[in-house]
């Protein structure tokens, strides 16, 4: 999908059984990408069932596909 500003937009779904660590994984990814100081302990402090939650990121190619260039 390409948005009206000509930026490729990807919709990525994270699925899996309850309790496998989906929400945790996404929140850790969010903390890494956004350089926040949130720790794993902060993230797991509020466990609970997710019904559906949305995260939005802007990414430069070098931040996610450097391993392809190795």
């Amino acid at each position: 999908m390409v948005d009206k500003n000509d930026k490729p937009t990807f919709k990525l779904i994270v699925t899996g059984d309850s309790g496998v660590g989906k929400s945790c994984l996404i929140q850790v990814y969010s903390a890494i990408v956004n350089h926040t100081k949130e720790t794993f302990a902060d993230i797991i402090e509020n466990p609970g069932a997710t019904v559906g939650k949305f995260f939005h990121f802007w990414l430069r190619p070098l931040t996610y596909n450097t391993f392809n260039r190795l």
Binding site: V14, V33, A49, V51
Partner: protein, 148 residues
């Protein structure tokens, strides 16, 4: 991060794992470019569980949805059989596979990077670098169509 010519937008949807919310999940799957199936490496491998998520995605998001399999909690007591069989499942289905530890932040960014690359592979022309080399212009989405 500030958007510029080399950025992509990534919308991640965290879905419910519980059975009772699956009807909601099916609506979220619509129009997905890619999906990650997470599997806890510390639990016994059950092929029907992974098959269930694969089927749900393929039926509701469509065949073009690029699937990546991620083994989670690899910092804990990982069951070797689970690790091997999950990786084997990924290979058999031609899905990329990655192991992560959210607790220590190991391989998390890389795993999502693999998922994004898989989407780009399934949708040629969406990689910003590739789009530049193809001379993609605004509006055509890099699909190679030219005017006149």
């Amino acid at each position: 991060m500030t958007p510029d010519g080399d950025t992509i937008k990534l919308n991640i949807w965290d879905t419910a794992g519980q059975e009772k919310y699956q009807a909601i999940n099916r609506n979220l799957y619509l129009g997905a470019d890619g999906a990650v199936i997470c599997y806890d490496l510390t639990t016994k491998f059950a092929v029907e569980k992974v098959d269930y998520w694969k089927k749900e995605l393929q039926e509701n998001a469509g065949q073009r949805c690029a699937i990546t399999i991620i083994g989670t909690k690899n910092d804990s007591d990982v069951l070797l059989d689970t690790r091997l069989r999950l990786e084997e499942y990924a290979i058999q289905n031609n899905f990329p596979f990655a192991e992560t530890s959210a607790k220590y932040g190991v391989n998390v960014k890389e795993a999502f990077g693999i998922a994004i690359n898989e989407i780009e592979k399934s949708q040629p022309g969406t990689n910003p670098t590739e789009r530049k080399s193809l001379g993609a212009t605004a509006g055509n989405g890099g699909n190679g169509k030219t005017c006149c």
